[in-house]
Amino acid sequence: MAESKLTPNPSGGQESVPPWRDIRIIGIFAQIAFVVLVIMGAMWLLGNVTDNLGRLGGFRCPDGTSSFSCGYNFLKVDSQFDISESVIDYDPSDTYGRALLVGLMNTIKVGVLGIIFATILGVLAGIARLSDNWLVSKATGWYIDLMRNTPLLLQLFFIYFGVILLFPPIRDAIQLGDLPVYLSQRGINMPGPVFLPSFATWLAFVVAGIILAFVIWILLGRREERVGKASNRAFWVVFGFFTVSIIGWFVASNSNKLDQSFMIAKSERILAFTDLADNMERRLGAANLNEIDLMVEEGELTSEEVDEAAYTLCVISESASEVNFTAELRRLNIPYTVNRSTRPDQATAKYAAGECEIYVADTVILTGERPLLEDPFAQAIVPTLERPVRISIPEIEGLNFVGGIKISPNFAALLIGLVLFTGAYIAEIVRAGIQSVSKGQSEAARALGLSESQRLRLVVLPQAMRVIIPPLTSQYLNLVKNSSLAIAVGYPDLFAVAFTTLNQSGQAIQVFLMVMAAYLTLSLSISALLNWYNKRIALVER
């Protein structure tokens, strides 16, 4: 009890505080009582869990004992369920652990894309909200109010069941304007890039271009400071970057000439890609392939004749070679028809059976497949021009789309819903951030003679960012957490996969612990990243 005597008496009186009224002693006892209570509660719950799991069989090891780590052995068991879409390879014979990983990747995918698009939409809407055009600012305001005052889940249901699933089936797919973008019950199909092997070469040039751009930016900045006169930094940066990238494009297109090839019977006497065009001209009796349409119109040729003469191609579906080759044929206006197979051996069989006259694939595949043909030496392998990136355009073939990027209706509904919803919140944050910069700052910038873009970039935005970043962080976190609503629209995100896992394996506690740990990790990493950025831009207080 000596301790209580040492307590300074706040009232300055003479008598000391008795121990049962000493705030320090009360505090320590309260703490200990709290710890005891928490431990007792935990023991009670744990007792119940063991009682319950004793019947359900929870953390049971194969040898009959039970241990914490044995509870996770189910992760190595085959999952036996399919996942409709995944970033990494997956099939039902993979383990529960891999299924959960697929779910996590899907969550990250929708989270990253959602954050990017929601930020773009939010910034645009936030600026539009402050527009001096009354109509623009009002319309944005209505959008924000509508999104913020209705539940996200309702919006998701509406977009998924009320819009996307009511789209027509594939054969009547809606085309957006004249663009090759198709909306159907099966989702959205749109053009997408296809990367060929020479992409690596080009990428190196692009990276070099970015580095060069940075160097130019810094050097010109130093020069500006030295000379005391502004130069057109942005122009030189863009110019430097594009020059290097364009040079890289040509280098990459011409360096890998032996990578893409096609196989054709030697009797056709085709030794180079350009011979294909000449050969077609001879077949059709046309002076120039660009005139085919005209000739058909004028009746010199029938479209049946053109179809008859068209090259028939054997390709492996979804391969970059196909996109590369057909793009080149289209550029030269050479008519062709495509015969797709899923595997090289099937394509080879079709080619051997004479179902097509040209076999398009990687040079490696072709040289591998040629010896399998009946008369290998009667076949010529001709290299094709290759571009680092080709745009693949979706086309309806039978009951499906071929080529391009496919976005499943589930993913589309989830992403659109999350972006529209979060975008509205971000818009309000951006608006508040910009409004928080006092008018005097803008006026001062104008008085100094800064241009509008300089005013925004150097004066307004850096100050607005300080206000924007903290609430923006919590919106990003909300977006990632809200992506768990995927289960309502059938997108296999982490939570949906975990729920299926839980139902099949019955390991409720372990699965929930893992899901919570995963979401906590995601949340903590996002907030750590943005806190780091926030600290960098925060006001240095004196």
């Binding site: 005052n149 209705t150 539940p151 309702l154 241009s451 873009s453 809200n482 939570f495 979401y519």
Partner: protein, 513 residues
Amino acid sequence: MQSTTSRFGGSAFRNLNLRRYWLDNVRRSWLQTIWLLILLLVTIWFAIGQLQEHFASTIIIFVVWAASVIWTAVSDVRRSHRPMTLWLKTNLYGSLSNVVLSLLLALILAFIIIGFFDWAVVRASFSTNPTVSKIQLERKSVDGKEGAAWGAVIDNFRNLMVFRWPTDQDWRLFAILLWNVILLIPSLYVFRKEVFRRSRIRRVLTTLWILTPFVVFFLLRGFKSDGLFGFLAGPIPYLNPDIAWGGLLLTLIIAVFAIVASFPLGLLLALGRRSKITGIPAWLTYGALGLIALYFFVTRSIPALAEAQTTGAQLIALWPLLLLLIAYLFQRYYQGNVVALASTVYIEVIRGVPLITVLFMSIILFPILLPPGTEILSTWRVMVAAALFAAAYLAENVRGGLQSLNKGQYEAADAVGLNTYKKYRLIVLPQALRAVIPAIVGQFISLFKDTTLVAIVGLIELLGVANLISAQPDWLGVRRAPYVFIAVIYFVGSALMAWYSRRLERRMGVGER
């Protein structure tokens, strides 16, 4: 000075410096030029599309736009603005890009409004007879686009409101409504007047308000005949909440319960997180955790180390040493304050995971966490989970309010000699809570909207009923109309709360003191 001739005479165009206008509106920067070009192209493309779809409305918009632009331009050149043209100039036609943008937006808005009107009124059917409705919708449909089947909403109105609540028990709902209205009307007067501050009426009203949740609860649930109030089971029989509660009724029950129940818990968590009470002394922390670590080291680590094959396994086997690290961090960052630690962990874990995991956990884990044989209705589980979830968010809002309070207020309360309870009750909380009213109401609004999530875990609230309608044989596949209807309900509810929050803010003078 403007002369009459310059206003109306031939020299009016002296005010128009076209070169200057061109420079200002088109050539100020290349970005602006590109923006203007894109805007023009998009507008022309959209206008052509609209001309083919809705000829009349597009022409009307175009004529009105052109006339008002010309009127404004002429007024501007002549420097003779009327209020109307001045408004048009400042708000719609301020610059060349704004002129085009206004047209584009007017066309887009017309497209949306006409589209919605067509769907909701022109092509819609209001018949509650499914066959008639189907025929009407087909007859009115324009190239395959059908209107709203409002009949489904009207037909299912009772389902949307109360779902399976027995019709002969409706009087209980009206009684609840009546109870609240009767309390509300005098309260609005009594709680606002200073005269009643110490009057008995106010005390009676407060007591009745505190009793309200219990009255409402028992009216909604009824009495079991074998319970303590078994004699009341006759007039107010027991209704199983899992069955009888549904639709908007369930939405409101969950939202109100979560709001009311999360408030005290959130308050406690916020105070706990900020508590400065003396922590467990360092020697006790290190001693206790050290002993536990030693125990586990001897019983678990040593045998595991002997068995371990790889370095990784050896490192994992050393886990009891982590307890010492925890002890250090606990002393370093929390000064031994367990209450603060526990509150922080609770708040951060709950805020870090989605509500849907918490709801599913309540459905699946509650039976595992409670003694075997305990049966709890899903409705209770979900309500408790929603309240526990909301409490963590509320705690952070309240903490914000507590932090915003000047230290002098605490010191002043101490100086006056108030004890801890009175200090918080009379000085700290009133000010702290007032500062965070907007945040708390925002929290309640999102809680109200988040009640939709219970539809995923199988309770039939508003959204659940809307989903069920589309599964009815009569209204198979009817989705949009019910969704729009409940969206309106949520919109009105949220907007009302936001409006009330702004009013409350103004009345309490947030930001003025």
